[in-house]
Chain length 267, copies 2
């Protein structure tokens, strides 16, 4: 069982991913694909005249401001753009792909952040109507039902809060929870970098492996979006996933390459 | 086994439908819900500045012009708005609802219209890049897998063409094909009218029942969107579905009411 999270940044081809996934499924691999929708949300929000906003926490962490309208746009982008594109790419290659969101059959249960502290012009503001949160519980039943029937699940945000509201959740960390719930042997986090870089953005400075004892060092190296990937790797490892690979989505056969050890291997 | 198609026009509450569906599922009914996205597509297209266009065929039939951009908007509206809303409404009521689109696991296979004849200012124009078509084959395997696992499928367009392209398909007629493939006992087509009206829009002129021999008469009475519903009823009956009910989605317990015979019963 392999869980693959695919990023959505520029330079990432769904074609390479889908072709590789189809080859793995044809060989009998049980595969679950997870994606987010951040870049597609930004594009759609601009088209709709609802300019994307980002919040910086007092600790310096940046995240999308998800007001109720942004949540609607996020759902259209995740479900109606990214998920449809991946499912279509797989179906075209003979895979029985099935798109599911985190709210389907309460797949991704979590908690909405009731109060977010945001730095604005040097002052801290509390935001109470944000529709973001984190996935805390994954119900593997629907995924196992689909896999047992020869289908390949493609999972999209949002998640579902304790009050049954959709919430914007980080897909890297949700993928980590999903890999743990499915007792996957490997979690691959694929994006537009070769892996964790010692001197970002120098791609020659790739860190090829990280042991569980050196996770703190990995976290101190991570920049920007990589912070969430390293955090996801930590969560997956601590939840019993034997191997996490942060790899490159921009290459041919990106899943196979990562499984062969290209990228940063956490074990 | 009951297949319910729910319309999206103004005045239709997803709450009533979801509450009723949850009660039926709790009693052990096998239920599949189908929806379209016409009204949501029109709303989103206007917000995106891509004004909706409709085509009139030489025979007087009106349909949405689905250029490639409209197909993208249609998918966002169907999957990211209507489907998410129905799934959420069901999950909130304890139903293990799972949203699937017609492209998932090649559920709704059909044909793209390679050439559409459109009347424009008295002349006939041929449109060759339209992304609409019709569903001709429904694979019930995924739906039965989900139903057997205690899940309730909520099916959204698009369908999938013979060339593996997404296509805008009429959800009433796709629901008819779906009911036939599932060997459903009843197909309910619920919208913002009480049923087929002898003198549209006079709601007192409801036709309460239609036998298979009187289908031509029903077709001659149907106006606007009702034409597709009567055509769907015909297709379902001819494909072996014993009973089709065109009923009112605007009332409390709309599915139960229809199953009790409120509306126009085709048998």
């Amino acid at each position: 069982m392999i869980v693959v999270k695919i990023g959505g940044a520029a330079g990432i081809s769904h074609d390479s991913l889908c072709a590789d996934a189809a080859a793995l499924v044809a060989r009998g691999e049980r595969l679950v694909i997870v994606h987010g929708g951040s870049d597609a949300t930004t594009t759609l929000a601009r088209q709709l005249g609802h300019e994307p906003q980002f919040i910086t926490s007092p600790s310096g962490h940046s995240s999308r401001r998800t007001d109720p309208r942004t949540l609607e746009i996020f759902q259209m982008a995740c479900r109606g753009v990214v998920n449809q594109s991946l499912v279509l790419g797989l179906v075209r290659r003979g895979v029985r792909a099935v798109g599911v969101s985190g709210i389907d059959a309460s797949l991704w249960r979590g908690t909405r952040k009731a109060a977010i502290r945001a730095l604005e012009a040097g002052r801290t503001r509390i935001i109470r109507d944000d529709c973001s949160g984190s996935v805390e519980h994954v119900d593997p039943a629907l995924l196992n039902t689909l896999l047992d029937a020869g289908c390949t699940p493609v999972i999209s945000p949002p998640g579902l809060s304790e009050a049954n509201e959709p919430i914007n959740v980080d897909a890297d960390r949700a993928a980590a929870r999903t890999a743990a719930a499915l007792r996957a042997s490997t979690l691959c986090l694929l994006s537009n970098v070769p892996g964790l870089l010692r001197a970002y953005p120098d791609e020659e400075s790739l860190v090829s492996s990280i042991t569980i004892e050196r996770l703190d060092e990995a976290e101190s190296l991570a920049q920007g979006r990589m912070k969430n990937k390293v955090l996801a790797a930590r969560e997956a490892l601590l939840a019993g996933v034997p191997r996490v690979i942060i790899g490159d989505a921009r290459v041919a056969s990106p899943i196979t390459r990562a499984l062969e050890g290209a990228g940063t291997v956490f074990a």
